[in-house]
Symmetry: C2
Subunit: 136 residues, 2 copies
DNA sequence: GTGCTGTTCTATATCTTATAGAGCAGGAAG
DNA sequence: CTTCCTGCTCTATAAGATATAGAACAGCAC
């Protein structure tokens, strides 16, 4: 689990950590049961404060993706094979998707290009993350 | 141009305004040349400070979507028919798309469901916004 | 001149972000 | 038991973002 963050980015560090973990889960790099580095360890590796890592992990826990306890540390609790998402998640996610796609269309990206981008991005996830779905 | 914002949302007001304008441009509700309400007018309508609207408009201007001048006020400068987006935009947008799609996959949404959501969202935009692309 | 527009300053209050240090409870390993 | 690491919680501080507010200026229309 190698994780890279950009300290000069305008997006908060804890948000970047969360995003990278989410992407790792989606790509199958992290599956249910996979251990994550401890908050203090990851903080030391990234050269940041452990409270920042703690905030990212806590966010992932509230999203249902991570399980945290003093015994085993941080462990992945949910991945692509853990069943459908909650209703409120889908609702919120669709709204954010709408805004993101609108941005591309408004900037002049063609529908086919935008959809192709979605398709290829999803394909890169589902190549490695496989387990329950029937193959296409 | 009716615009609604949620004052109790965790997403900043100026960001909500920006998002709604972007979506209006993508849906064809706003085309190149369409006038937007003045900062003071929109602020009064929404019951917020005009500086907040100013920030949203300034953001949209920096994104190339709006043209602001003392003569005509705020006018849409770019829409789906204004040619392809800048390279740095596509790069940044793809990274954000990757994170958003990863979130859906990690939460257990199927690839086909996610792609279908992208497709239907894009379809709702391009029904009204048409001008340069050859029809499918 | 009057009135509208965007634009630019100062100022303030609140929240977020990131840092830092200290400590506690629980399990593992010596 | 002691030692060590774990998540977790508290206080504290500095810097930045967010939203408010008031005032003023320059350009254009009537």
């Amino acid at each position: 689990m190698i994780l890279s963050v950009d300290l000069n980015s305008e997006v908060p560090i804890y948000q970047q950590i969360r995003d990278r973990v989410v992407e790792a889960i989606a790509s199958g790099e992290l599956a249910v049961g996979s251990p994550l580095p401890s908050t203090r360890q990851l903080a030391a590796d990234l050269g940041i404060n452990f409270h920042t890592v703690n905030k990212a992990y806590d966010l992932l826990r509230r999203e249902g993706l991570l399980l945290l306890n003093r015994k085993n540390g941080a462990v992945v609790q949910r991945d692509a094979s853990s069943g459908p998402p909650a209703a409120h998640f889908t609702e919120d996610w669709t709204a954010r998707l709408r805004t993101l796609l609108a941005e591309a269309v408004a900037q002049g990206m063609g529908d086919r290009e935008a959809l192709a981008a979605c398709e290829s991005t999803l394909a890169r996830f589902t190549v490695t993350a496989r387990g329950q779905g029937e193959p296409a």
